[in-house]
């Protein structure tokens, strides 16, 4: 059948896939519009090849100073990193605890609409603002140091945990909740016996995941004075001590990798 079709039809040398947007006018105007925008944007950010080429010898120069990484000031490195780790741990712990009520408030199937929108608004606001900007406020409010960074990460964690746990709560099996309610249990008992067992196992995985994010974030909060290794790193680059800067970066990557490996192991053992 197909043989005959191939014989009768003229052999087409080239084949083109059909276009995604059928209307040619719309397709071309979109393409031209995107092209014009890109040209404008390139001009706006002064993206030109000369600047790129001028940067290449600077990369070589930088790498020359960077290598080998300088671990000689390991005590400074160690204290900065341990402060970052501590900030991440404590803010994750508090963030999870405070995130649970946020999640309950932001679950459509548990609370009345005004409370739902209030908590969703809080989550939306915190998740929209970059952490560094939140940190600026805490630094202004309580002064420089790890505590300001810890508060920043805690606030960010509550919104994160609240959002993800709320989605879990909204997706639970309503049968179990109805069964508990049928026994005459009040709202709090429904929460404890009908919802908590279905949702809580997820919070362990979530806390590990959030710790990972908090550690990565804690590394930069130091730039605005909120503690951790960030200030050390920023200063190292500012003083052209690239070899020390690279040592900090490598140590950070190592910690992230170890944490990723460890969290994978823990999560597999929970499942």
């Amino acid at each position: 059948m197909s043989h005959r079709a191939a014989e009768t039809e003229p052999l087409r040398i080239s084949w083109r896939p059909p276009p995604k947007i059928r209307n040619p006018l719309l397709r071309w105007s979109l393409l031209v519009g995107c092209g014009l925008y890109i040209i404008y944007a390139i001009g706006d950010v002064h993206l030109n090849p000369e600047r790129f080429i001028a940067g290449i010898p600077r990369v070589a120069e930088m790498l020359g100073v960077m290598l080998p990484p300088d671990f000689s000031r390991w005590d400074l490195l160690f204290s900065g990193l341990s402060e970052s780790i501590q900030m991440a741990v404590i803010s994750t712990a508090i963030g999870i605890v405070l995130g649970i009520p946020v999640a309950v408030g932001a679950a459509k199937n548990l609370v009345p609409a005004p409370i739902y929108y209030l908590f969703r608004g809080y989550i939306g606001l915190v998740r929209t603002l970059p952490e560094v900007l939140i940190a600026i406020f805490f630094v202004k409010a309580i002064g420089f140091g790890a505590f300001a960074g810890m508060l920043t990460l805690t606030v960010a964690s509550t919104a994160f945990v609240g959002k993800l746990l709320a989605e879990e709560i909204e997706a639970i099996d309503p049968g179990q909740v109805e069964a508990i309610r049928a026994t005459g249990a009040g709202w709090s008992k429904v929460l404890i016996y009908g919802i908590q067992p279905q949702v809580l196992p997820r919070s362990i995985g979530l806390s590990i995941y959030r710790w990972d994010i908090n550690f990565r974030e804690s590394v930069i909060l130091g730039i605005v004075g909120a503690g951790g290794i960030g200030a050390t790193l920023y200063n190292a680059f500012g003083r052209y001590e690239y070899d020390f800067g690279l040592a900090i970066l490598l140590a950070m990557i190592a910690i992230v990798l170890i944490a990723e490996w460890g969290s994978g192991k823990i999560r597999r053992s929970i499942k």
């Binding site: 404590i90 970059p130 505590f147």
Partner: protein, 271 residues
Amino acid sequence: MNPTSHVLGGPFGARKPVSRIKRLGGFTVKLLAVAIVVWSATGLDIHWPFILDAPRQVLDLGLRMLPPDISFVDDIVPPMLETINIATLGTVLAGALSVPVALMAAQNTTINQATLWAARVIVVSSRSVNELIWAIIFAEIFGPGPFAGVVAIAVSSVGFTSKLIAEGIEEIDSGQVEAVTATGAGQGKVLAYGIVPQIMPTVAGVLTFRWDINIRQSSVIGLVGAGGIGITLNSAMNLFNWDQVSVILLAILLAVLASDWVSNILRRQFI
């Protein structure tokens, strides 16, 4: 009643029997977690006078920020556009870079173990180093300005986009690839007609998702001199023009919300 509950130990014994070693292991993990949290709490150098002073500081800050300096709106339009341009160009550049990296990182398209590991190293280092740190590095290389910002956004996005695109490549239908190979097509044609059409929706979806994140990121990279609204924010804070800071924060908030909305609409087209 559930008949198995009797087997598992009494009518109320819904718990599964757990071996003593496992229970001891679980207890040790919990104890370790508590110990880590306690150790972390010791790392926060809390200055109580500062914390007691915090409400007054927050009130002071609030009074300085309100009302926002509306006349400043005109001044932030160009840096806001620059922020959006940095995010868009950075995402486009990341897309161009991440297709080859993703092809190397996917088990079914990578050439050999060496390319697989090279791709993994790229993904891990891009993801573990925060975009603000990339911005510091590229501001040193290309000089302060939006150009460094574009490169920083691109480099910090490559890990994320490559990883997700590689996962998309690993899930492609191998039948289509085999069919194209069976026509006698070379490796380039297999890639162009067998693999790329299948991953295009993933690539488009991942890039729009990342663009939304990048709008958020590019609004802060100016804090370290890499262009965009962050530079305006930094100078407003250094001059204690808090009524201008509140205008900038509102602008960032609006831009992030708008980009979230646009990215959601676009992604619905691709999936």
